[in-house]
């Protein structure tokens, strides 16, 4: 039986999974505000990234590229290289999907795009399943001991500290990008008003490509981090997190990337802490219930503007 003494530890788990949910949520939020539709394929972009990383990592290992662990972490150069390349390849794949489908459907409106994204979701997931089977795959089978933080009996693995640190760094980078670069400002402008952006002379197609680069890149990152945290990946990895991600996005205020970060954290922590009281199986339902409560209380979310 779980006791209150476990709650600090659960909070830490919550922050870890909240980090991953938040990274996924930023992409959903950007696509929603800039392209104007809810992208239900986002979870599968995460899985795609995780599997591309797996493929590359297997390849690199075969080529004899070293993966001697960095310090206390469970992985080394080979994996990091695969990680980075997987981010780039996922972004490219998603841009291709955009060119092939979403771009052509943009004139048809948000609902058609939403529907198309469901097709993409199922298609991608089954492509992964076709090549890798529905069975779990492992980045590493090694067991990493958790270390004690020395307070409140909290234990955490070095890999998990890496996940949190990377998420923090990426959030800061994305924030700086949106705040200070010309492209970041153009993304915010287009989220405000896409027609005006076009009238102003902003190259909206380039803004869209950058939106996908960031969204898909962060999705791949989130997928790979989920693989590191869970120790395995399956083609359903992203779909299983999608509800939590959307709940976080709605909670924070749909279309607001900062809200997605905050909401993702709240959802991650609530899901983990809830396991002290109810069956672990109900984690996604916890996210769902929080989302519904938010919609009843304030549909624009914690940080949402009204519109």
């Amino acid at each position: 039986m779980t006791t209150l003494a476990h709650i600090p530890q659960l909070l830490v788990y919550g922050i870890i999974s909240g980090s991953i949910i938040s990274l996924g949520g930023i992409g959903v939020s950007l696509t929603y505000s800039i392209l104007g539709f809810s992208n239900f394929a986002h979870g599968d972009f995460m899985a795609l990234g995780a599997y591309i990383a797996l493929g590359l990592f297997t390849l690199f290992t075969g080529l004899g590229i070293t993966n001697a662990p960095f310090g206390p972490l469970s992985f080394g150069f080979g994996f990091v290289l695969a990680f980075i390349l997987a981010i780039a390849l996922t972004a490219i794949a998603v841009i291709l999907i955009d060119r092939l489908l979403f771009r052509r459907l943009r004139r048809s409106g948000p609902v058609i795009l939403m529907m198309s994204s469901i097709g993409v979701a199922l298609g991608l997931r089954n492509i992964l399943q076709f090549f890798w089977s529905p069975q779990p795959h492992y980045y590493s089978q090694a067991i990493q001991p958790a270390v004690s933080l020395g307070v409140l009996n909290i234990r955490i693995k070095p890999d998990e500290l890496f996940i949190i640190a990377l998420a923090v760094v990426l959030v800061i980078v994305v924030h700086a990008f949106m705040r200070y670069t010309k492209m970041g400002k153009a993304m915010r402008a287009m989220a405000d008003n896409a027609t005006l952006a076009q009238v102003t002379g902003i190259n909206t197609d380039r803004v869209i490509i950058w939106t996908w680069v960031i969204g898909a890149g962060l999705a791949a990152t989130a997928g790979i981090l989920a693989g590191i945290e869970n120790k395995f990946i399956t083609p359903e990895l992203g779909w299983q997190m999608l509800l939590s991600i959307f709940a976080g996005v709605v909670l924070g205020g749909i279309g607001n990337p900062y809200g997605a970060i905050l909401g993702g954290m709240v959802i991650g922590i609530s899901e983990e802490v809830s396991t002290a009281f109810i069956s672990t199986g109900y984690k996604p339902a916890v996210a769902f219930v929080i989302m519904i409560i938010m919609l009843l209380v304030k549909p624009t979310g914690l940080l949402g503007r009204k519109d």
Partner: protein
Amino acid sequence: MSLLTVEKVTSGYGDMEVLHEVSIAVDSQEIVTIIGPNGAGKSTLMKTIFGLLKPKSGRISFSDHEISALSADRIVRLGMAYVPQVENVFPSLTVRENLEMGAFIRSDDFSGRIREMYDLFPILGRRGRQQVGKMSGGERQMVAMARALMLNPQLILLDEPSAALAPNLAEVIFERIEAINDTGVAILIVEQNARQSLSLSDRGYVLASGRNRFTDTGENLLANEEIGQLYLGG
């Protein structure tokens, strides 16, 4: 050869035609006003000129380019700018960021142009870092105009720049419009209650039910009794 020529343009939304063979022209450095009642199709004409709606027939040319089939982002590059009637600023961006967006396609240093805009609209200079969404209607209108001017356009389209502004603020806006015109920019203004606008215009058009009704100099239109009764509120 006029700077902007609209010849017998028919346009609308989907199957619905709003404009029927409308023709207008704007010469370089001119101020031209289009007036007409609500729903006459004035905004529709602006959107059609600027490539947001495709004309079903007729042609539009701008400084020797046929632009009827061009999209808005191409037209911007030819030296035309457009300030829509509503939602004409990026509310979550600061004043300065709005102006930067206006200069998106410029790769040179445009800080000089921003300073010129701050000289033209001193309020904006003092509020550069303020979020535009939190500004008043008049200030937003200035941001919108400044944004549109960032690329040094030859022609700027203003859709009801003084709508919903207090009379003294409208005064300020029209005074600024003249100042902009003095720098050599041609201006096409749409106005509903348009005495003020016509009085500073070289020429004016009256549009009703999507058709040309009258065309004359600003002065003559103002002097015309029938127009005064029908379109200028007596």
